[in-house]
């Protein structure tokens, strides 16, 4: 039985996405949006505590729980990033993503259809799931910033109309870099802890899951390297953030889907 707090968190994310989408520019709406997102994050955190108190407890290593963690981290990372960049206008997309992940997790937890990961439970599986989910969430925010950058850039280049509903290019660039510098190390640690876990489980290292994770990690090395070595920003970085996340999402969700089917 999924805790009602989990459904409540999903509902608050949905409301935040609706309010953020309706009038992101007005101050009262922005305040309501922030409060709803904060409420969703708080309720979601309570849901995680209740996961462990259920009988039997919901393990964080299940796919549905991992999706839920990603949803929570997407919203939390974004709220944290608001302290560094004025990017409230992309909040509606972030809230919609958080809702998508949390709602999918709610359905998965309800159906109990998620596949348990192989090997014994312990610290490494937990570390892997939490680190990978955190990295995934931060990189999701980075890709949203990249997407916003590309849309805004296109509108400005066309010289037809301004796009005041989106933050400035500089803000979006800064949000992308912030989320990338948070997400990439977490993803790296997630991949590393996954290796250790796989080694401990005694299975093959070169499973579909491991290979796909390495592919996604490798794709992200390109923007990270360009940023670190040359200070690359702008549309090139934005494009690599969007492509990188698309590859990561396909690798992760594709592998999970195949596991569910097989």
């Amino acid at each position: 039985m999924t805790p009602w707090t989990h459904h409540g968190a999903a509902l608050l994310y949905l409301l935040a996405a609706v309010i953020g989408g309706r009038k992101a520019a007005t101050r009262p709406a922005s305040r309501s949006f922030e409060w709803l997102l904060c409420g969703g994050v708080a309720l979601h955190a309570i849901a995680f505590v209740r996961f462990h108190r259920l009988d039997p407890p919901i393990s964080l290593e299940s796919t549905a729980a991992a999706l839920s963690v990603i949803g929570w981290l997407v919203a939390s990372t974004f709220l944290l990033s608001l302290r560094f960049a004025k990017t409230l206008a992309v909040g509606r997309f972030v809230a919609a993503s958080a809702f998508g992940f949390t709602a999918a997790a709610s359905i998965g937890l309800h159906l109990r259809s998620s596949v348990a990961l192989p090997g014994p439970a312990g610290a490494w599986p937990h570390a892997h799931v939490l680190l990978a989910a955190a990295g995934f969430a931060a990189l999701a925010v980075a890709s949203l910033a990249g997407l916003g950058y590309l849309v805004k850039e296109r509108l400005l280049k066309a010289r037809r109309r301004a796009a005041p509903e989106l933050p400035s290019l500089e803000s979006l660039d800064r949000l992308g870099v912030f989320a990338l510098s948070l997400g990439f190390p977490l993803l790296t640690l997630g991949v590393f802890s996954g290796f250790v876990w796989a080694l401990g489980a005694g299975g093959s290292l070169w499973t579909r899951h491991v290979v796909m994770s390495l592919v996604a990690w490798g794709v992200y090395c390109v923007p990270v390297g360009a940023r670190l070595l040359r200070g690359q920003g702008g549309p090139r970085l934005a494009r690599s953030l969007v492509v990188g996340f698309a590859v990561l999402a396909v690798c992760y969700l594709g592998t999970r889907a195949l596991e569910l089917v097989s």
Partner: protein
């Protein structure tokens, strides 16, 4: 109790007339203080900007109050040369609506400009310091600020830019989070570029470089604007280093070439560059617009954006007017409640006074004090019972918004607020005109006649002299 507004603005008087009737910002408080020293004026506020001078007051008698405000504007602020038609008067609802429209910039020369709200706030602060505002004007101004805020947030009035210079500043805001540490390059010295440059500096830009064919002119302009001058030979390097370039030099062919600039832009690693070309012929090769991370806007683009801004603001007028009407109704409900409360208080006091007087008059000369008190209590009770239905009705009507008519009728019927033996100003004709909303046939000379201002109230109170 009435709210009055007497004033002149860019809609009614030419600049030289407005100049003669302007009040210095530092003097507005003192002028308002002087106004409330008149017995006709309870509360007053003076708003004086380059486009208007308006006296706003709360008065007990609207005719006497209007005469005093008119006299003050004509002879104490002005030199008595103001002609009928160059100033206007607004009474009650129309005055309230006018204040709301002014605060929300619906009455401004540039629709949607933000400066006027700050000026109204300054005028209110000055009047508050001079203690010339009381509960009525305090409430009126608070509603005006709320109304202006609603207009901006709910209709987007003022979001879009309508001048070429302002569009340039807005474009910079689309690219950069803040202009605080951004480098601005000024190529040439056109008036429009200077205007845009001032806008950028107001938005926080501090680093400025001036490039001009004449090194002396560049140095002089840089010194004037607090920047540094650079030779024309380094133009492409300076453009590549800048974040915003404003170009408005007199040229025969473009000075900034793609072939020279594009290689230098690679060093920017994706940092956006905004070039606003205000020159005619153009200063910047149009092929540069194809370069990634370079955003090039010329005069046509800026003028088109300014036109779109003006259109966007015009579409915001109708919803903004609806907000004004809503806020006016809210204020009038409050005002009618206030005046009904005054009437009820006065009526009860009058009843008690009559009961006491009559009890004293009819008490037998040899009666003991207890009997006299009993007679007074009985008379008080009879008066209270007689007045009760009327009081209840006025209270109910005040909530419905028709309270002022009942309050006025009670004032006239019971002669509340009059000195014994005096006649009310205007008498039955005045009462009929106020209750029906139809103006009196013979208005006081110089007051409330003439054509209504476009977009003003529709209730017959909104007239200009």
């Amino acid at each position: 109790m009435s709210i009055l507004l007497v004033g002149l603005s860019h809609r009614s008087a030419p600049l030289e007339v407005r100049e003669r009737h302007a009040v210095a910002t530092s003097e507005c408080g003192a002028v308002a203080e002087k106004l409330v020293q008149s017995s006709e004026i309870d509360e007053a506020l003076v708003l004086s900007t380059c486009n208007r001078t308006e006296l706003i007051a709360s008065v007990r008698d609207s005719d006497l109050g209007a005469a005093r405000l008119r006299e003050f504007l004509l002879h104490e602020i002005g030199d008595g040369t103001l002609e009928p038609g160059q100033y206007y008067e607004r009474v009650d609802g129309a005055a309230v609506e006018h204040v709301f429209r002014v605060a929300g910039s619906l009455d401004s020369m540039v629709l949607g400009e933000a400066q006027i709200l700050g000026q109204v706030k300054q005028a209110y602060a000055a009047a508050a310091r001079a203690q010339s505002v009381g509960p009525v004007l305090h409430r009126l101004l608070q509603r005006a600020f709320r109304c202006a805020k609603r207009m901006r947030t709910e209709t987007g009035l003022g979001d879009a830019s309508v001048s070429v210079a302002r569009v340039g500043v807005q474009l910079a805001g689309e690219l950069f989070e803040s202009l605080a540490e951004k480098h601005v390059l000024l190529l040439g010295a056109g008036a429009m570029a200077e205007s845009a440059l001032h806008g950028l500096r107001d938005a926080g830009a501090t680093s400025l470089v001036v490039v001009n064919r004449s090194r002396e002119r560049a140095r002089a302009l840089a010194a004037q604007l607090g920047g540094r001058a650079a030779p024309l030979a380094t133009l492409h390097d300076e453009v590549a280093r800048s974040d915003v370039t404003l170009a408005s030099a007199q040229v025969v062919e473009p000075l900034v070439r793609r072939r020279s600039l594009e290689p230098l832009l690679r060093q920017r690693h994706g940092r956006p560059l905004l070039i606003i070309d205000l020159g005619l012929p153009r200063n910047v090769e149009s092929a540069l617009a194809e370069v990634e991370t370079l955003y090039l806007y010329d005069l046509d683009d800026l003028e088109a954006a300014a036109r779109r801004g003006a259109d966007a603001r015009r579409t915001a007028i109708a919803p903004a007017e609806r907000i004004v009407a809503q806020e006016r109704r809210t204020f009038e409900r409050w005002q009618s409640g206030l005046s009904a409360a005054e009437v009820l208080r006065d009526l009860v006091a009058r009843g008690r006074e009559i009961a006491r007087t009559e009890a004293q008059r009819f008490a037998p000369p040899d009666a003991e004090s207890e009997g006299e008190r009993a007679l007074e209590r009985a008379t008080q009770a009879a008066v209270a019972k007689l007045l009760h239905p009327a009081l209840e009705r006025v209270r109910e009507e005040a909530e419905e918004g028709t309270g002022p008519y009942y309050s006025l009728a009670l004032r006239e019927l019971f002669r509340i607020g009059e000195r014994p033996g005096s006649r009310p100003a205007g008498g039955e004709a005045d009462l009929a005109s106020r209750v029906s909303g139809i103006p009196r046939a013979e208005p006081v000379a110089g007051s409330r006649g003439g054509a209504a201002e476009p977009g003003a109230g529709k209730d017959g109170e909104d007239r200009e002299d």
